[in-house]
C-alpha cells in the first residue's frame, strides 16, 4: 500500500459529505478504501453522487464534512500534492477542438513541469499507446467520441500519476471503443500498479473491470464488495427450461425440483433456484436427458449487479438513472458562479 516515499498509493475516505446551498446532500457520509493497484468501480445512477465524490477526491470541490486522503495526502490541506499524484479524466472529455492531439499533450506535459525533451517523448509514447499516433497532428474537433476519450486518458497519464480517476469514461462510446478503453485501464492497473477509481452507470463495465465495486445511491454507499461477493449476497442463480413437448412440463418440473425451490417463470417454462449454484447446470442437463425430456430452451440466469442494486434500493439501476436525473442533477462545473 505504501510507496517508496512512505505515501500510500490508495484512497481512504471517511464520512465524506458534500452539501450544496439550497440543494440536496449530494454525498452523504461515505466511507471507502481503495488499495494500490486496485480498480474500484463506483456504480450508481445519474445524480447519485458519483461525480461529486470524484470532484472532492480530485480537490476540485471542497467537502462539507468528513475527510479523504488520496495517495496519502489530505484532499483539503494538501491539494497541490494530491493533484501531483493523480490523473483524471472527468465526465466530459474536456478538449480544445482547435488544438491537435499532439498540442494537447505538449500543453499538458509542460504544465506538469516535464522538461522539453521529455515532453515530446512522453507525448509521443502516450499517443501511440492509446492508438492516436496517426491522428496526433489532426485537430481534435475532427476526432470521434472514442478518440477523444482515448486522448483524455492519455492526457490524464501525462505525468505518470499513481492514481487515476475516470468519471464515466465510456459513456456514449460504441462497444469497440469501450472494450479498447477497458483493456487499457486493466493494463494500467495490472502492469503499472496504477490505482483506478472508476465511476460508471454501466453494470457490465463495473463487472468486467473492477476488482471491487461500491454502489452509491442518494449520496450513500448501499453495497460494497467484489462483483462476485455482491452477487452472492443476493442469492443463487436461476435455471429456466422449456420442454419441446408441452406435455412434458410436469415431468420437467419434477426433475428440476431435485435441484432447488421453484422460481417464477413464463407459463411454458419451469424455473428453479439452483441450490448448488451454477456448477449444477451440467447435472440438470444430464438429469433431464436421462428422463428423455427434450429441451427446447434452457437458460441460466446468474444474479447481476442490477439485481444487487434492485435488492439494495428497491429500484432497477436503469430506471433509477432517469428518476434521479429528474430529481437532482449532479453539478458538473466547479464552483458555479
Amino acid at each position: 500500500m505504501e510507496s517508496s516515499n512512505g505515501r500510500s498509493g490508495g484512497i481512504e475516505v471517511e464520512g465524506l459529505v458534500r452539501e450544496f446551498k439550497n440543494g440536496p446532500r449530494a454525498v452523504d457520509g461515505i466511507d471507502l478504501r481503495v488499495g494500490q493497484g486496485e480498480i474500484y468501480g463506483f456504480l450508481g445512477p445519474n445524480g447519485a453522487g458519483k461525480s461529486t465524490t470524484v470532484l472532492m477526491l480530485t480537490t476540485l470541490l471542497p467537502p462539507t464534512a468528513g475527510s479523504a486522503r488520496v495517495a496519502g495526502f489530505d484532499v483539503v490541506r494538501e491539494g497541490p500534492q494530491v493533484r501531483a499524484s493523480i490523473g483524471a479524466a472527468l465526465q466530459e472529455a474536456a478538449l480544445d477542438p482547435l488544438l491537435t492531439g499532439r498540442e494537447h499533450m505538449r500543453l499538458q506535459t509542460a504544465l506538469h513541469g516535464l522538461g522539453k525533451a521529455e515532453r515530446d517523448e512522453r507525448g509521443t509514447e502516450l499517443l501511440e499507446r492509446v492508438g492516436l499516433a496517426d491522428a496526433a497532428d489532426r485537430k481534435v474537433g475532427g476526432y470521434s467520441g472514442g478518440m477523444k476519450r482515448r486522448l483524455d486518458l492519455a492526457l490524464a497519464l501525462a505525468h505518470r500519476p499513481r492514481i487515476l480517476f475516470l468519471d464515466e469514461p465510456t459513456t456514449g462510446l460504441d462497444i469497440q471503443s469501450r472494450t479498447a478503453l477497458w483493456d487499457e485501464v486493466a493494463r494500467l492497473a495490472a502492469d503499472d500498479g496504477v490505482t483506478v477509481f472508476l465511476t460508471t452507470q454501466y453494470l457490465e463495465e463495473a463487472d468486467a473491470l473492477a476488482n471491487r465495486v461500491g454502489i452509491i445511491d442518494h449520496g450513500q454507499i448501499v453495497a460494497e464488495g467484489t462483483p462476485a461477493e455482491l452477487k452472492a449476497e443476493i442469492g443463487r442463480p436461476t435455471v429456466e427450461a422449456i420442454p419441446r413437448e408441452a406435455d412434458d412440463r410436469e415431468r420437467m418440473a419434477a426433475v428440476l425440483s431435485r435441484f432447488g425451490e421453484p422460481a417464477g417463470s413464463s407459463p411454458r417454462a419451469v424455473a428453479v433456484l439452483l441450490q448448488g449454484g451454477e456448477a449444477e447446470l451440467a447435472e440438470v442437463v444430464r438429469a433431464l436427458d436421462s428422463e428423455d425430456i427434450a429441451i427446447e430452451h434452457l437458460q441460466l440466469h446468474a444474479p447481476s449487479l442490477d439485481d444487487v442494486f434492485l435488492a439494495k434500493t428497491g429500484r432497477s439501476l436503469e430506471g433509477a438513472g432517469d428518476e434521479e436525473g429528474a430529481e437532482s442533477a449532479e453539478p458538473e462545473a466547479v464552483g458555479a458562479g
Binding site: 476540485l60 491539494g79 509542460a110 513541469g113
Partner: protein
C-alpha cells in the same frame, strides 16, 4: 516534476498558455475578420458622412478621416472583450478549465496566457487600421516613431479590455453572457468624444458624460499622435487609463477565478 524554479515554472506556464491562446486566435478567422473589417466599415461610413464637421470652428484638423481614424482602434479593442471572454467561457463550459486546474497551473499564468491571443489580435488590428487609414489619406503627425507608439497604445488598450472579457467569463461562466455585454461596452464608445472633439460637444448632459468617460481620453491619446504629433500629456493619460483598466480587470478576474476555481 522538474526542478524548475518558481519563476521559471511561471514563465513556462504563461508561455504554454500564450501559445495556445495565439493558436486559437489564428485558427478562428471568425474572431479576426469581424474585428478588423467591422471597424473599417464604420470608418468608411463615418469619414464619408460626417466630413463636414471639420468646418466647425475649433475642429482640430481639416481631415475628418484622420480625426475619426482613432475610433476603429477602440472598436477593435471592444472585440477583444468578446473574444477573450468567449474563449475562456468556452473553457469553463467544456470543462477544459478543470483540466487546467488539475495541473500545477497558477491563476496568474492562466490569465496572462489567455491575454496573449488578445495581444496578437491587437497587433493585427492596429496594423490593419493604420495601414488602411494612411492609404485612404489620413495623416500621422507623429511620423514613423508615432506609428510604433500608436501600435503600442492600441495593443495596450486591446489587452486591457481583454481583461474585462476574462472577468465577465469567470463571473458568468457562459459565452452567451459575455456576448451579451458587447452592446453595453459599445455604449461607452457612443457616449464619448467619438464623433466630435470634447470641446465641440455642446449638449450639456452629453458633454458631462463624455468628460468622465475614459474612452474619450483613450481616443484623445490616439488622436494626439495622428493630428498633433507628440502630446505627452495626452499619451500619458491614454497609457495610464489602459494600465488602470488592465489592472482593475486583472484584479477582478483574479478574484472571480478564485471563486470559480475552488480547488483546495
Amino acid at each position: 516534476m522538474s526542478g524548475a524554479t518558481p519563476t521559471h515554472a511561471l514563465t513556462n506556464q504563461v508561455g504554454q498558455l500564450a501559445r495556445r491562446s495565439i493558436l486559437r486566435t489564428l485558427r478562428q478567422p471568425a474572431q479576426i475578420v469581424p474585428a478588423v473589417v467591422f471597424p473599417l466599415f464604420l470608418l468608411a461610413v463615418n469619414s464619408g458622412g460626417l466630413k463636414d464637421a471639420t468646418n466647425l470652428p475649433g475642429f482640430p484638423t481639416d481631415s475628418y478621416l484622420t480625426f475619426v481614424l482613432a475610433v476603429p482602434f477602440i472598436q477593435g479593442a471592444l472585440f477583444s472583450v468578446m473574444n477573450t471572454g468567449t474563449d475562456l467561457a468556452r473553457d469553463i463550459e467544456t470543462g477544459f478549465l478543470n483540466r487546467l486546474a488539475l495541473t500545477p497551473l497558477r491563476g496568474t499564468a492562466l490569465l496572462s496566457g489567455l491575454l496573449a491571443g488578445a495581444f496578437v489580435l491587437g497587433v493585427v488590428q492596429a496594423v490593419a487600421y493604420l495601414s488602411v487609414g494612411l492609404i485612404a489619406g489620413a495623416e500621422l503627425a507623429a511620423g514613423p516613431a508615432g506609428a510604433i507608439v500608436l501600435l503600442a497604445l492600441s495593443v495596450s488598450i486591446t489587452v486591457a479590455f481583454g481583461t474585462l472579457g476574462l472577468f465577465a467569463a469567470l463571473r458568468f461562466g457562459s459565452g452567451e453572457a459575455v456576448q451579451g455585454l458587447f452592446p453595453v461596452f459599445f455604449v461607452f464608445l457612443f457616449l464619448s468624444a467619438m464623433a466630435l472633439p470634447l470641446n465641440l460637444l455642446t449638449t450639456d448632459w452629453f458633454h458631462a458624460i463624455a468628460s468622465v468617460n475614459p474612452v474619450t481620453y483613450l481616443l484623445q491619446a490616439i488622436r494626439s499622435l495622428l493630428i498633433e504629433g507628440w502630446n505627452l500629456g495626452d499619451l500619458a493619460l491614454g497609457f495610464g487609463i489602459a494600465a488602470a483598466v488592465g489592472a482593475v480587470g486583472m484584479l477582478a478576474a483574479s478574484s472571480a477565478l478564485k471563486t470559480r476555481l475552488v480547488r483546495t
